[in-house]
């Protein structure tokens, strides 16, 4: 049985560093409570899976798949999300620092503004909990697409999640209440374009590597 368990990754910035776009209170709860719960449940599911594998208990293995998908997805998605955000006004937040990605966005959507608009519309059209993603199809430097995934479904490989935006209500509700359009508009001030450029050009390593 695996002795290693997944642990909560540290944020690359302080809890209040994304203000005024995302409040300190939201970041604390989101990281310390929500993300931690996905990790706890993932570790429990993995441990149950190890036991079921050892005893060749196939029905239990099958029953565990959705728990793994949901909680493993939650851990992957949040781990990617924290890294693709950066405090407003920092160098990483400058789209000019992501020349390859910027070029690809402009050639796909005509302009940055048209892309922001299309991405925002996709986020606001989500029915229920889920995520909005910019993905590079098939691997790094692929065709760019805006997709949404429901609940905690992760982006499926080989597509590369260039960046993701959490559209669960817990990601914005304490600050924006039902005005999710304001959250979506503000998110551009904290997207980490340097990280997005890296993912677009070189892909993403397993974000949960133990």
């Amino acid at each position: 049985m695996a002795s290693q368990t997944h642990t909560l990754p540290l944020l690359p910035y302080a809890y209040d560093a994304l203000e005024p776009v995302i409040s300190k209170q939201i970041m604390e709860l989101h990281h310390q409570k929500h993300h931690q719960t996905y990790i706890n449940n993932l570790n429990a599911a993995l441990s149950a899976q190890a036991s079921a594998t050892a005893s060749n208990d196939v029905p239990t293995l099958i029953a565990l798949q959705q728990k793994l998908r949901f909680n493993g997805g939650g851990h992957i998605n949040h781990s990617l999300f924290w890294k693709n955000l950066t405090p407003p006004g920092t160098p990483g937040n400058d789209l000019g620092g992501a020349p390859t990605l910027r070029q690809a966005i402009v050639s796909r959507w005509g302009s940055q503004e048209a892309f922001f608009k299309a991405f925002g519309a996709e986020l606001l059209g989500l029915q229920g909990s889920g995520w909005g993603w910019l993905v590079s199809k098939g691997g790094p430097k692929g065709r760019l697409e805006i997709i949404t995934t429901k609940d905690q479904d992760p982006v499926n490989g080989p597509d590369v999640p260039v960046f993701g935006v959490d559209m669960w209500e817990h990601a914005y509700y304490l600050q924006y209440l039902n005005n999710k359009a304001d959250y979506v508009e503000g998110i551009w001030k904290i997207i980490n374009w340097a990280e997005a450029e890296k993912r677009y050009t070189a892909g993403v390593e397993n974000p949960l590597k133990l």
Binding site: L29, K33, H34, T37, Q66, F70, Q127, G128, S129, G130, K150, D151, Q152, W168, E169, H170, Y173, L174, L177, N178
Partner: protein, 228 residues
């Protein structure tokens, strides 16, 4: 007494609804063919401490109202598509009808199956429904535990319902994703909203506390009527 104090927003909603409103199917109200936001039969603060007044106000005036508005917009587009005989457009509108129409239905049923303690909220079921719960679950407490477990198991946004199976007349617990309404084989008896907006301002990530507190404001009289 708090229950006697009329909330000004509620009064405004009432006068705004005017005499053109009439009760439609499933208790929904319509004015000139449009769905309208139903009035609550209690004040926003009346479900405290189980559900805060602020949550109730935003949930009713903003969230529910957005479903009503979006449903009416969808309906307009649907009528246009029907007038043109555009079948593809009618099919494409199906998810929007389900989501916004479902949101309107679910919330309308939800408000009615809640009540302040002073109006009988939390008083356990009686009669035939109580018997059905005992037979099916072995007791009211066991039923509540099962319902709470169903609520806690929802992955994402959704609802848990006590339903009646139209084929067998038996009751059961079912969960529904997002705003999927209880239709078809099952009839909705009691719904509990497990979207984060239903509890987050008060309970944050401690949703289990919300699921346990809501029993104090369940209006079993309404549930009994739906079951009968």
């Amino acid at each position: 007494m708090a229950a006697l104090l009329s909330n000004s927003a509620r009064v405004a909603l009432r006068s705004g609804a005017s005499a053109t409103s009439k009760a439609g199917a499933a208790g929904l109200t319509f004015a000139r063919g449009k769905a309208t936001l139903p009035d609550l039969s209690y004040d926003y603060g009346a479900l405290e401490p189980s559900i805060s007044g602020k949550i109730m106000e935003i949930h009713h005036k903003n969230h529910h109202n957005t479903y009503v508005t979006s449903y009416n917009n969808t309906l307009e587009q649907l009528q246009e598509a029907q007038a043109k005989g555009d079948i593809a457009a009618q099919i494409a509108l199906k998810p929007a009808v389900n989501f916004h129409g479902g949101g309107h239905l679910n919330h309308s049923l939800f408000w009615e199956n809640l009540a302040p303690k002073s109006a009988g909220g939390g008083e356990p079921p009686s009669g035939a429904l109580s018997k059905a719960i005992d037979t099916t679950y072995g007791g009211f407490g066991e039923f509540q535990s099962k319902m709470n477990a169903a609520l806690a198991s929802i992955q994402g946004s959704g609802w848990a319902w006590l339903v009646k199976d139209k084929q067998t007349g038996q009751i059961g617990i079912r969960t529904y994703a997002n705003q999927d309404p209880v239709v078809g084989q099952f009839e909705p008896l009691l719904g509990i909203d497990a979207w984060e907006h239903a509890y987050y301002l008060q309970y944050q990530n401690r949703k289990v506390e919300y699921f346990s507190a809501i029993w104090d404001v369940i209006n079993w009289k309404t549930v009994e009527k739906r079951f009968a």
